[in-house]
Symmetry: C2
Subunit: 506 residues, 2 copies
Amino acid sequence: MVQCVVQFASPTVDQWQTATVISLGILDRSSAIPLHEQIAHGLRAAVLSGRVGVGDAVPSTRALAADLGVARGTVVAAYEILAGEGYLLTTPGGGTVVADIVVQPAVVRPAVVRPAVVRPAVGRAASVATPETVPDAQVDLSPGRPRTEGVADAAWRSAWRRAAALDPEPDVDDARGDGVLRAEIARHLGRTRGLDVAADDVLVTAGTSDAMLLTLVSLRSANARKPLRVGIEDPGYPRVRMILRRLGIEPVPIPVRVKSGLDLDALARQRGLDALIVTPNHHYPLGSRLDADQRARLLTWATREDVLVIEDDYDSEFPHGRAPLPPLSLLDPSRVVLIGSLSKVLTPAVRCGWVVASGAAGERIRATREDLDLPVSLVQQHALALYLAEGDLARHAARRRRDYRHRRRLLLEAFADLPDVELTATDGGLHAVVLLRGRDVVAEREIVAEVAARGIRVEPLSRYAVSQAASPLPAGIVFGYAAPSTVVLLEAVGVMIDVLRAHVDR
Amino acid sequence: MVQCVVQFASPTVDQWQTATVISLGILDRSSAIPLHEQIAHGLRAAVLSGRVGVGDAVPSTRALAADLGVARGTVVAAYEILAGEGYLLTTPGGGTVVADIVVQPAVVRPAVVRPAVVRPAVGRAASVATPETVPDAQVDLSPGRPRTEGVADAAWRSAWRRAAALDPEPDVDDARGDGVLRAEIARHLGRTRGLDVAADDVLVTAGTSDAMLLTLVSLRSANARKPLRVGIEDPGYPRVRMILRRLGIEPVPIPVRVKSGLDLDALARQRGLDALIVTPNHHYPLGSRLDADQRARLLTWATREDVLVIEDDYDSEFPHGRAPLPPLSLLDPSRVVLIGSLSKVLTPAVRCGWVVASGAAGERIRATREDLDLPVSLVQQHALALYLAEGDLARHAARRRRDYRHRRRLLLEAFADLPDVELTATDGGLHAVVLLRGRDVVAEREIVAEVAARGIRVEPLSRYAVSQAASPLPAGIVFGYAAPSTVVLLEAVGVMIDVLRAHVDR
């Protein structure tokens, strides 16, 4: 056990001249609570107590680690939790200071929040939140939104600054995208997904939607006068249906079961599909994953039926509860087109994604891109190439992975004791699904509306259904847990739980 | 007459300590040669003579203007000519220095080039160029490429730096694009095209191709099962045909005549078209323009036939020989969808354009964009919004306008005496067409190949033809004159003229 003090530097007329010394409390190495959470807990308490002020600088990770006799990474992890929660802020100069928690989104009312967040590992963190703490302000928990605070750090700004200093070329040489960025995307896929992809098989796209549009237009133009039919998951990503509809392609829903995932028997009965769009690694939104046997069955079917498989690998940088499986495209690169993006791991604001395709499908997609033109800014391609090449994306992803896992653990605790409710889809990514046992679509809509009335946006699971008839879905709530600070998230989750409890009591 | 000296500062151990004083020669106010060209001429001679060295700083425009007793704008114009020619370079610090002319593209061999560029207003500038001066290096004179050297100036870099310092939003709120950028595009269209457009009617796109794709997909999905037919100009922009083909839409070629432009009689005979894509302000590539009567006829026909008109306003920031006419969309905003981009006025590297659409067509396009998603990076949208808002695009466009007009004048002189050749399409934009009287497609291809063999890329006019049968096109060469430095351009044009002369002599 270590009793220790932390010295914060406060800005005065001459910067960082005065120091506030606070006690961190006692670190207990025999506790089940990891050391970094204990440190975070102590620092959080110091901030909430007002013993340190807004703008005070925390000690360097190196200094604090030495003081506490822990590894430096332990302190880094503690700071990241607090940054994720909104208590700490990295300044443009590179220092880390106490954030002005009061200027967080209006939903945060520190006086009420404090008890909840000071003991996240003890009670159900969010259960103390009360309706009064959520004013009109909207907390957007719609799924798919990553946490972007802190993305614009020194490495990010440096990459853009250098990219903007180049004279912007007068023409777009390669419709597949900048060669350096394609090589970096291939490297990223090797590191995060175990893929051995040639840069030549990578096309840069303006995100997943553009990748989907491109792939479907290439399919459309390869089958000029024939009506096209494309299998999609039911429930599934709504935008896929919209893009198909806009291109005049018939979507064919294939049921996805809550427990067992894509219904491969139903798929096996399908004849005459031209393509199948799937999320085999973390079904959107239910969270199931195809295991090795299911993958083999799917590909056997696709080969027999000569169907192009479009694998939407949308959030696999964030495996949580289990080791990730390699993408389908590793098993049959000529049959499977892999689509991914930086939207979840970094931010959708960059609108940058990729298609990995080889063989005849790859040729068709490349030729289609030549005709349609590349929609991705070269300035941005250069900036992202630098950001990836220098390891900054990998570092950012590692930070977010820790932050999201911490959030996921808090959520699992918060929902653990709730009757007739199951929190699912938590084995990866940045969203979760609350399944509502014995409730129907009417109750689902009511709950979403009541949560919305209290300033929090979540989505009904039925929104993802293609055809209720084909695949009777349980009632459920889909929400993202990555975008707001942990403080705001926990309070919003508290409101959701209040609403759910009230519904049970009816 | 003013005899004057110019003081260049040379970098040494302590920057800008030594000064080189050179004589500019005599300014002749009674000469037909404008003062700024005389100043440019004198400075150019000083650089070429080696009297000033690479990296030497030129005097400030204010100081030189005072020394010479001319308006400051006159010196600015002279510097811009020299920057356009590659002799001067703006440094990141904001100073203007003598460029390292030897590191220009390999085609420049100063020893040979000098006589030509020292007297641009005297003889046909490029006529001294000889085959030996063009080695393997490729000079790309394919049309549509703006000059991008110097775009990355202090204002540009500052806009990107500030945009990259913002945390990149976790979601895309408005599929039409950032509100500030839309307002700035509306203002840009007001200033350059006399349009009074509401920001609400502007959609940001990833360039012209994306705008075209979006508009055509919206047309496609509004007419789900019906085969679509869209009128296009013949000759015309090849990419339009490719996009139509990829979407399974039938292109219907409407002839464009060299002298009279779009054949409105042929158009009037058309029935059942769903849309018409035109370049009424500067036909691509022939350069003709629809006059007020022709515009009225076109719109009367479109209204009678209920055809959507898609106006590709691709380079109208650069009117040269005549005052610009306002876009078609001003006459009937609900019938005409206006498409434009920053590709010509700034650089295609940003992949940023717009669709201006109101009424039912506007609603359909907006709804389509909601479904397809916005492909344009928000970081870039913020950077461009700042760049436009602070007047930097307008300043850049003004500089380029002067530079391109200067180039155009040199071209008109260079081609003036050539037998059986007519330089056309020069009333605006950044490309020109050499019409070859009495020659056929075979000769056209031969000339393009011979020019290419000498390291210069130009395009045969026949490349733009949709159907040779429908619209017998004269033989011609299409080339851009904006991208390379003026020095390189003039030498390349000299090679073209050599090849053309050799063909006449056969």
